[in-house]
Symmetry: C2
Subunit: 290 residues, 2 copies
């Protein structure tokens, strides 16, 4: 972590406390789904304009946005230009940023990716794939917060992540152990590490055991809402004190149903408030359990 | 695979036959290491200029280059502009391209990445991380050739990829089974699939068992030379008939030692010829074994 910068976990928890809800809006802009009003000019310019609208609508409601790099990368250099603009705007709006890039490489290539995500795009956190091993993760940790993919929300993930090892663990639990051991070297004053874990809400049956292996990891929890994860599922990702996870929702917030005559940005704002209230209730329930 | 395009494995094998060597030059341009003569203007422009020099030096010697996306991405939009230029130049020089991006995501995000790699950047092949499961691989396969990470060359990969499952396989072998099953749906007339596998030369002890699980996969083999993989190691990645793998070398070819007064591009050309001859000898030895 660069000198003079606050510990990524401490910053994120502070921002969550300030907003009163451990939530994150996933910014996955898809040209075909964005309002015609902003669909002007090149695809990349349209995606940027839509993204700035989302940032404006959710600022002051959520602590954080998760930006899907693929949605920008598909437009090449123009897309990366748009991504630069969006990351700057998010920061200016007081939002912390998770750049969901799922990069994974080793050595100097991993350092290049880290320079891109944390240096060039100024992300506070990024997502990383740990299949190559921990030397694919540590180059990122030197520059900011990292959520390593441990248990992903998609159905086909079971065919690898749920396989059983001879020592009784699953493959995902083995990744969790590596994450916990490496993350132990970068714990903030909050007691949480700058190395967190992606744990899908749709895999809640595994959340309790993963939480036991990774008590100091912040969980980034996708899959709530549109992908089928429920409030009950999400609850298991939090510690008993209602801390330790941040739940992300994309489609349900950024493509909401508009009421008659309602502007799309008002509908997004309303959807973000509803989402934050739902997850706030989950945490309160977690914290009040005996 | 788009209509009218040759099967990626058939094209690659045809190009290998034409050059007489199953080799690939890894283009991992690092600003600090490139000749001062091309280090002019922005970092991205310097990296592009160096890359065009490499392409010019190795054309007609090797069938294929592997371009490390991270080296370009670190410069944001400027880097992606440079990457566009390099990919176009490689194609114009008659080289097939592997875009080494190690992307891995699911659903529409994976489709976006595939659109970037195969559409925007016109790669013939790309590398993909399969930790999310096969639904993180199939969106790429629809558009071109894919090398899935199975057994990577870095030391820390053992801590996950070598773990033993209750059914007797290693984690890497489980990934190999998924790759073989999915790849069976896209076999070319050559008998090889458009879904190949990355198998590091430094993990040659596993190559025989991985080859048994994946008889129809082309192996992309990094780790030869600078990373410690030997000719003997590499031999095990080929089938007994001397086919089925493509060996990649980066630093030893693109940063060669120059003789007194020799131009850097001549030194690169010489290093590429030496590398091709070494691997040609490996294949001949593999093919002539009883």
């Amino acid at each position: 972590m660069p000198l003079g910068r606050q510990h990524p976990a401490d910053s994120l928890l502070k921002a969550i406390d300030a907003m009163g809800a451990p939530v994150c809006v996933g910014l996955d802009p898809v040209l075909e789904r964005i309002p015609s009003e902003v669909r002007i000019g090149t695809p990349a310019a349209s995606v940027a304009r839509f993204s700035l609208g989302i940032i404006d609508a959710v600022r002051g409601i959520v602590p954080c946005i998760k930006v899907q790099a693929a949605c920008f990368e598909r437009y090449g250099a123009d897309g990366f230009k748009a991504l630069e603009e969006v990351m700057v705007a998010a920061k200016a709006a007081g939002l912390l940023t998770i750049l969901d890039a799922k990069r994974g490489d080793i050595g100097i290539s991993a350092e290049h990716y880290a320079a891109a995500l944390f240096g060039h795009f100024s992300a506070d956190w990024c997502t990383v794939n740990a299949y190559l091993g921990i030397d694919g993760v540590t180059p990122f940790l030197a520059h900011g917060g990292v959520f390593a993919l441990v248990r992903t929300s998609n159905p086909a993930s079971d065919a690898l992540q749920s396989l059983q090892l001879t020592d009784g663990r699953s493959v995902a639990e083995a990744v969790a152990s590596l994450v916990a051991a490496t993350g132990a070297q970068s714990i903030g004053t909050s007691g949480f590490s700058s190395l967190g874990a992606v744990v899908g809400a749709t895999k809640a049956q595994d959340a309790t055991s993963l939480r036991a292996v990774m008590p100091q990891q912040l969980f980034l929890v996708p899959g709530y809402g549109a992908q089928g994860g429920t409030a009950d599922d999400v609850r298991r990702c939090f510690r008993p004190d209602g801390k330790g996870a941040i739940v992300t929702a994309s489609r349900s917030v950024i493509y909401p149903t508009c009421d008659d005559g309602e502007h799309w940005k008002s509908a997004v704002e309303r959807a973000a408030r509803t989402f934050a209230a739902e997850i706030r209730a989950v945490c309160c329930a977690a914290a009040s359990q005996p």
